[in-house]
Amino acid sequence: MNKSLNKVNFVFLGYMNEQELEILLNKVNVFLDENVTNLRIRRRIYIVTVEALENISRHTDKELRKNNKVKFSIKFENNTYILKFANLVYCKNSERIKSLLFKIKNKSKQEIKELYKATITKAQITPKGGAGLGLIEIAKVSGNNIDYKFKDIDDDICEFILEVKFDL
């Protein structure tokens, strides 16, 4: 963790599972308490962090898990908090995420709310505990200030990078 006058960083690089997630979220909470004075933004950063890391913890392909070092950072620059999450996914499984993010991107606040309503009212909880709401919640909470890319690692595996911004 690196802290200076106008730049605060929280960086995590490691393997993710339920236990690691708990430890990490506790550290994030302490970091936010100490460094983010705006309560609304602090709360929103926490919500996005939980949803993104729970997604990674729940949905990482089993075979990829042991090689999947998750990257997560919170950076404060030019009056903006920038959250970045990166993890490995099988390229063949990336289409579902891409199509949802494509659907979300550029939607207005009202359209996101409608998508949230349509999804939550029909949602079935999967055995992994997901409701298919995580990315929509992230878009809702961040005012849709999200960006993403998929970087090819090889023919089968790519890195999914999600960036979420909160302006002060």
């Binding site: 929103r44 949803e51 505990g129 409701a131």
Partner: protein
Amino acid sequence: MSKIVIDKTDRTPELIIDTDNGFFSMQYDSRPEDVRKFYYPILEKLKSILEEIKQAGNLSYFKEKPFVFTFKLGYFNSSSAKFILDILNIVKLFKESGINVEVNWYYFEDEDDMKEAGEDFSEFCEVEFNYFIMEDDDDE
């Protein structure tokens, strides 16, 4: 008829279901490790309470006095949100069965997002909520 109290943990909310007094309360954070295991029994309990009230012919009692549902939530993840809506959809069934229900949604003064979440739930389940600002003592 019975009273059920489930203590809070780091990841699950405190729950009180007091059938005799017509009271349901959910407080603190919700991010259960196994969200289905935590919420399914609660949904089943609420459905059985509704049936009990209907079968016992107690509808008139709850026409006079409302069955109160109180939510004082700090944080809930998106999977929990789905189940909170499921609970509220059962509240709607209470109402449609002729039971007078009251839903009280609490939020901290500086947390508009939580109030907005309540407003969304109210719209989704088509049940009117009362909104209250939570004092710090309420969350202890």
